[in-house]
Symmetry: none
Amino acid sequence: MEPGSRPSGRRKRTFIEEARRAQIVSAAIRTVAEAGYANASLARIAQHAGISKGVISYHFSGKDELMDRVVEQIYSTIADFVLPRVAEAPDERAALRTHILAVADYMRSNREQLLALAGIFNGVQTPVGAPRYRMAVSEPVYRAIEERLRAGQERGVLRDFDVRVMAVSLQSAIDGMFAYWVTHPDHDLDAHAAELAELIDRSARPDSADSAGST
Amino acid sequence: MEPGSRPSGRRKRTFIEEARRAQIVSAAIRTVAEAGYANASLARIAQHAGISKGVISYHFSGKDELMDRVVEQIYSTIADFVLPRVAEAPDERAALRTHILAVADYMRSNREQLLALAGIFNGVQTPVGAPRYRMAVSEPVYRAIEERLRAGQERGVLRDFDVRVMAVSLQSAIDGMFAYWVTHPDHDLDAHAAELAELIDRSARPDSADSAGST
Amino acid sequence: MEPGSRPSGRRKRTFIEEARRAQIVSAAIRTVAEAGYANASLARIAQHAGISKGVISYHFSGKDELMDRVVEQIYSTIADFVLPRVAEAPDERAALRTHILAVADYMRSNREQLLALAGIFNGVQTPVGAPRYRMAVSEPVYRAIEERLRAGQERGVLRDFDVRVMAVSLQSAIDGMFAYWVTHPDHDLDAHAAELAELIDRSARPDSADSAGST
Amino acid sequence: MEPGSRPSGRRKRTFIEEARRAQIVSAAIRTVAEAGYANASLARIAQHAGISKGVISYHFSGKDELMDRVVEQIYSTIADFVLPRVAEAPDERAALRTHILAVADYMRSNREQLLALAGIFNGVQTPVGAPRYRMAVSEPVYRAIEERLRAGQERGVLRDFDVRVMAVSLQSAIDGMFAYWVTHPDHDLDAHAAELAELIDRSARPDSADSAGST
DNA sequence: GATGAATGAGCCTTCATTCAT
DNA sequence: CATGAATGAAGGCTCATTCAT
């Protein structure tokens, strides 16, 4: 019975098997980042990993599953970096600023993951046009952000905007910042992040507030 | 002598040829929207247009040129709709709001163009990962927005933010709005647009201002 | 009724039609010479001639007929140059030498025709592998040469070799000379021709003869 | 990791892979011989070999490499047959005769190789018209022949002709003999070869010599 | 007579996937 | 567990040819 063939059966994986999967996922990230999703054939990924093409098929049910794991892995790595920092912010308004700066901070040294994500997001589309990855993966992120926003609103440090719109706009602006950075490698990412944080803060703070409290 | 073989010579096109090109571009938009860039093969596009595959090669030098024309066409159509409305706004601060609402207004009835654009933007990538379309095509848009922003700053209706960051963030938030709408067809696009306009206005207006002047 | 559709009906051609055919044949020669037979598409030939693709199909029944006419035309032009010179040779032994030198003389200033011929000869093959052009076109040439050789044998100025083998070898050595010249443009064609003439003379002259009589 | 993708690294090949490559090369020879280079598509070659089209792409980097290997293989097979016989000849003058007879002897039972070579030589052309195969492949052959000729001249068994012209003419006459034979299957190849050997001997022997010494 | 337009077959290649070893 | 080998579909593209205008 092949490992990849079980959608939910979740068999225990051997250590060596996990290692191989991690190695392949990592090679996939590098490959998509370098060559784009369209050119990231299993052959090229295997070559990057220094293994044979068949191995990938053995460990993953197909290209789709591999890409799912890639996205999963990147997201969880980002979360591991960002969440602890955000948790330390004094309040939800400050957390917004921290969130933006931390993500930028992380991505500055992990461009490959950025490129891979972007490549996969738009490269893999279901026929009906609904990008399956973006949705499946973004929803939990939106939820988490919204929860924080709502808490801030209740506590009075954030004004009463639509949390979903804010979450979507925030995430989009961050993505846009990265996209711009990718095409303009000399762009000052940290300065951009700081400026964006200011924009978001102004759009989210209560009417009476000025910007004093959040730096 | 095939039409597509002229690299730059810009030969005069017959009426019927223009019609065919338009028909093919339109079919390409529909196809990319429905199936994603990766699956938008010339065969499928031809099928959508009800013509033979060779016709496309006859009228366009290749898939790349076709996609260039698609992007070009969509952008100019959007501009034709949005720019006149923006020009009527009383000042640059109001223009920001108008811009967002107008684009949303247009896109509400032109979802396909949206999907096609998104598909092409990330589907066509140069090996180094720099999406060639997005950059080439976004730059003029950024420039136009920036000019307006700077004018507003000089006139004092907008505060002194970094115009490039604002332009990128604005455009991203709009794109994000559409992306969300695409995956959530029941989402209230106009309400989202109004809310986004408010966010942007708050982040762009001078410190002393309140939201009174722009509604 | 289209001109090209008559295999043997030989309708009278208008002057303008003949001009077009000549123009197309000439463009075909240039194209095959430059790009090789495989790359000499009707489109490219039409482009060379500055006319539309359809014109060729109108005047010739197909690519095959066009190529037939090309070969025909080149052969007859060569014959027009070579035969008068050969006819002036004092005897058949001298004629051999003259033949070689005259052909070389002609080809030196008509490389394109050479290249075109070579391209067509091997480019167009019938499925059974018997190059149809070479045979159909070479036979009369062999016949003419053989006739002269036989006359020389009867008159005693040539020894008693197999005339067909001599004709084939002579023609091949000439072709080989040109082929070599084509790939080595700096090669001294005239010197080669003179040397080859000596080789042939030695192999064809009667046993008792020395080379004195033929220079 | 596909075998064909290694540009020069010369990886060790498995036995089974070599077998497949040989099988494909052999099928290619048969196909080109039967249908001509232009019609020898990978599809037809695969069909001849009884395998799927993809297999060829798997084992060879492309059609070009396959054809290179075909030429290589044929040449080395011919050399393996001819060279030992030539080496046994008493002197260089006799070697010339042996060379012609041996090649004819070999080709008599390997017509397909002949046809394939001819097809490839002129089928594959660089745009500038310089047949890449013929030159690259013929030069070493010319060199080898010339060396022998020069040795014969120094030893006094051959007269003092231009060795390059002789090599080209000899090779051409042999090729012409085969070409004729191909189009005239009933032609007596051995008789032709004997007659050609006589022609060459006469053109190459020293002035004083008669044909006595070489029969 | 000539053209632009359209066709559809065929080309070489790449690819995800399967399978025997 | 891993590999090399094979498959067959699909991709973009070129081409000779046909035909209405």
